[in-house]
Amino acid sequence: MRTGEISVEHVVAVHDIGRIVNPLTARSQVEGGVLQAVGFALTEERFLDRATGRVMNGNLENYKVPTVRDVPAKITVKFVDRPDRRANNLGVKGLGEPPIIPTAGAIANAVANATGARVRHAPLTRARVLEALAVAGARA
């Protein structure tokens, strides 16, 4: 029996951002993006009342951003660190959204890999995970 709870233990984030200008801030940028992706994958969702269109969770109580305890125990950040001379004369590339983009999908894939349950709608709430587990269980 299960509770549908997901804990992200380890995220490996590898990015090609051309030349690394400041390793510390580049790394911080990736860690922040990974955490945004944890929210995207697991907790953040807007609710509209279907009859009135009113936003039900326009507050930090019910629009759930990750807390410190939701931060993955380990975030491994790696850079290719190869100046991209076609990009510009410094060989640098942007690092804003890239850490968010693949990470939610990676978390959903990890859930599927661990349990056989494929959740196709973010965030992976307990309701969705328990439903997917029931479907996967029925198939097995």
Binding site: T3, L48, A51, N57, R126
Partner: protein, 324 residues
């Protein structure tokens, strides 16, 4: 927010007198009341700050006479006191994931018992739901992932407190005082599923105050577990919570209590399921069966069926933990 007067009396009698005039509200930690006022859901014309009153803060345990906890005791005290953690460990277990440390520092025991529910239709100033005097509960056909799966009548709110299920699992009583004198009641009787003319989730009378919580000595011999499911790892109200307690006597359970939060408008108990476990070794089959019985009356809404699965599993785990 409306204009209001403010007083901080030193004597309980003065506070009670002030509470009898107009639309006065008692203020303790303010962690719920001030939010209700800012959102236009409470409009007291006077706030009577109770924090200046001596004798309502702190706890004591006289052997053989049970535990007494003053209503103004900050939650953080119940959580951090090492002696209390040995006397009644479930207090710490239930509070650890309640709100945040800041809120537990400001919030009091009495205020926790009397906090209003978190239904987002109730909390929305522009929505006049049944509980606020309207004609219908909007959650029933609306957005109801957080709402009741069992025990609801006209209103689908859920009991939000983490502390309350833990206290009820230890047969807690409360002492109250008001214009009609003092009275005592089971803590469980403070809560009612709103229905008919009872458009409120508490049975507190106007201008009445909770003075203290008492836990009988016999209950302190129980082993207890509190489990809480949230939709993130901290700072969330329970999707489902369960407090389980029993006295384990030569490997079998006596005086079993199972109290759930987040599933019904009141802290949810099914006495027949508890009685069915009397003398049980709490093996997996017995615990699974009890969980099934507790949730057998569930009638989930469109988006909260997951709570039934979750509740069954938490009950099973909590009961199993009493013998492991």
């Amino acid at each position: 927010m409306n204009a209001f007067s403010y007083a901080r009396p030193r004597a309980l009698a003065d506070a009670l007198r002030m509470l009898r005039t107009g639309a006065a509200s008692a203020l303790a930690g303010g962690t719920d009341l001030l939010g209700l006022m800012k959102d236009g859901l409470a409009r007291p014309d006077a706030l009577v700050d109770l924090t200046g009153i001596e004798g309502l803060r702190g706890w004591s345990h006289a052997r053989g006479k049970g535990l007494r906890i003053g209503a103004l005791t900050p939650l953080v005290e119940l959580e951090t006191d090492e002696t209390l953690a040995k006397t009644m460990p479930i207090l710490r277990d239930s509070l650890r994931d309640a709100a945040t440390l800041q809120l537990r520092t400001m919030g009091t025991v009495g205020g926790n018992l009397l906090q209003r529910n978190r239904c987002w239709y109730f909390r929305d100033e522009g929505t006049v739901c049944w509980l606020k005097g309207g004609t219908r509960c909007f959650a029933v056909d609306g957005e109801n992932r957080y709402h009741a799966i069992i025990g609801a009548r006209e209103c689908a709110m859920v009991s939000p407190s983490d502390l309350v299920p833990a206290l009820i699992a230890y047969d807690a009583e409360i002492s109250l005082t008001g214009s009609r004198g003092e009275r005592r009641m089971k803590l469980a009787d403070l809560f009612v599923a709103p229905h008919g003319s009872q458009r409120r989730e508490h049975t507190l009378r106007p201008a009445e105050l909770i003075v203290e919580v008492r836990v009988p000595e016999a209950a302190l011999a129980r082993k207890g577990t509190y489990l809480k499911a949230m939709d993130r790892k901290a700072w969330s109200f329970a999707l489902v919570s369960v407090a389980a307690a029993a006295r384990i006597d030569r490997g079998v359970a006596r005086d079993v209590r199972i109290v759930m939060g987040g599933v019904a408008p009141v802290p949810w108990r099914v006495l027949a399921a508890e009685k069915g476990l009397e003398g049980s070794a709490l093996d997996d089959a017995a615990c699974t069966d009890a969980a099934e019985r507790i949730l057998s009356g569930a009638t989930p809404l469109r988006d909260n069926g997951y709570k039934v699965t979750l509740a069954r599993e938490l009950v099973r785990r909590a009961l199993r933990s009493l013998v492991s």
